[in-house]
Amino acid sequence: MNELYVCKVGELDDGGVRIVGEPGHRIGVMLHDGEYLAYLNRCPHQGGPACEGMRIPQVQDVIDEAGLFVGQRYDESDLHIVCPWHGYEFHIKTGEHVCNSAVRLRKYATVVREGGIYVQY
């Protein structure tokens, strides 16, 4: 197994992302809720740099008890990685597309060692 040094702990803020690796094999490493997550920076749709986009929570249509549509809101507990090329959205914790879990970003393990963040591939 290979390891790639990402950066020092503290250099990556919560919500931030670092793109590391070589052309054709770039990995996005992000810190979310205290957890380091790493995904191949290549979207399963058309190959876009999925890790370089916005983070935005799940949008919900709100239907009240009477069955009426009353508006929209964000589900802040379900943050998405949004691919900047066309907007495919993936659950940040799993890398799975929000509408089809078979469509997913390739996930890598991360380790923190002696103050450094590493991604294993």
């Binding site: 670092r18 058309q46 190959g47 740099p49 986009g53 066309h86 907007g87």
Partner: protein, 412 residues
């Protein structure tokens, strides 16, 4: 082993670089050896809004010129008819960040930006269209549409098409004024880089109107194709019932072209203008088999309604040309393959990206299709366009360089 990071970048900053945004596209181009063949993108866009001051100065009427300079051409805000949220609240990052991209002062910014994305995708030549100006089709003041169309066409020919042989365009026809359409063909038909003319599909004019016959004859005479570029408008009575952009876009971009195609066929235009080639732009592909089946079925029962047709509507449709994007391709390989077959894609389909818009397609959407032979892929990606528009091929500089390197390597 532990490797050091090859690059270390912090995305989501405020600058924008097309080549970086499309870095993965360039990888695809290298992996697939796109230097081996010509790629022509038949529908791409620029944001003429950035050069609108220059364009407006081409308006001859001094009063309208001042008005245009004062008001500008940007889309309206959240409440306007076309103030859509196409950009998905910034999710498609090139929309909000594009304006931060730095370009050198010596070359027109639009040429630089076009070259950058074309090179990144492996596109050699592009047919370019404006973006907000497609919507002047729905401008209630016909004279404004005509003046802006002429100003844009002059500006484009003078500043862009004359300067870069990789760039071409099918020029905008102000379809609300048939006489002006004819004059546009006469005035610009021979300009460098003009490979045809284009009607925005949201025009509320019937294509079979006798008033357009002169224009069609002029196009046919010159061997210039007529394109129908799909669009949507929230001002249409049916789309006005919709509350989501996805709805108005998914249907609007197909619906308006279906209307024109149906009129074109039922009024026998392919028989009346047998040498006039038509190109149906940005409606995707799925509507083609639908309309073929629908019209054939009705035509067999009531051919008296379309007496100029000597064959089934689908036979004529198979002789027309189509651009590929946005290609419907979510878990439907079988349907897609049949669609390609029904429309005779190997000779009638032309690759288009629609870059930089939100639903753009890369050349790999065609190149990676498992049911196409290499020759068919190359035809769709460039050969068909080269034939239809009689293009003199101009390759991207990096492709020429790579061809050279490979030839040298082969010689040892």
């Amino acid at each position: 082993m532990t490797a050091t990071a090859g690059v270390f970048r912090e995305p989501l900053r405020k600058s924008f670089d097309t080549e970086e945004h499309l870095g993965n596209a360039y990888q695809q181009a290298l992996e697939r050896n796109y230097e081996d063949f010509l790629i022509v993108d038949v529908d791409s866009h620029h944001y003429e809004t950035e050069a609108f001051g220059e364009i407006a100065r081409y308006i001859e009427d001094p009063v309208l010129r001042d008005e245009a300079l004062y008001q500008g051409m940007a889309r309206g805000g959240v409440t306007s008819v076309d103030g859509s949220y196409q950009e998905m609240t910034g999710r498609v990052t090139r929309y909000p960040l594009r304006r931060h991209e730095a370009t050198p002062p010596t070359i027109h910014r639009d040429i630089t930006l076009m070259r950058r994305w074309m090179d990144a995708m492996g596109v050699d030549m592009a047919c370019m269209f404006p973006t907000p100006m497609l919507n002047i089709a729905t401008c209630p003041r016909v004279e404004v549409e005509v003046a802006l169309a002429r100003a844009y066409n002059r500006w484009l020919c003078d500043n862009i098409l004359s300067e870069e042989p990789r760039l071409t365009s099918m020029l905008y026809l102000p379809f609300n004024d048939p006489e002006s359409c004819y004059r546009m063909v006469e005035e610009f038909g021979d300009r460098k880089g003009v490979i045809g003319f284009m009607v925005t599909a949201t025009h509320y004019k019937s294509v079979q109107d006798n008033a357009f016959v002169k224009t069609y004859a002029a196009l046919q005479e010159r061997g210039l194709p007529l394109g129908f570029h799909a669009a949507y408008t929230w001002g249409d009575k049916s789309t006005a019932l919709m509350n989501r952009f996805i709805s108005v876009h998914a249907l609007g971009f197909v619906w308006h072209n279906m209307v024109h195609m149906t009129n074109w066929l039922m009024n026998g235009m392919p028989e009346r203008f047998p040498r006039l080639k038509t190109l149906w732009i940005e409606s995707g592909l799925a509507w083609v088999p639908f309309l073929m089946q629908r019209l054939d079925n009705e035509f067999m029962m009531r051919s008296s309604d379309a007496p100029l047709l000597k064959r089934k509507p689908s036979d004529y449709m198979r002789e027309m040309f189509y651009t590929s994007q946005p290609m419907e391709m979510v878990e439907n390989k079988e349907a897609l393959e049949l669609t390609f077959k029904m429309m005779k894609a190997e000779s009638q389909l032309l690759y288009s990206s629609d870059y930089p818009h939100w639903d753009m397609d890369l050349p790999s959407t065609i190149y990676d299709l498992p049911f196409l032979q290499e020759g068919q892929k190359r035809a769709i990606l460039g050969g068909n366009a080269q034939d239809l528009f009689k293009l003199d091929p101009h390759f991207a500089p990096w492709k020429l360089e790579r061809q050279k390197q490979r030839a040298m390597a082969a010689r040892g």
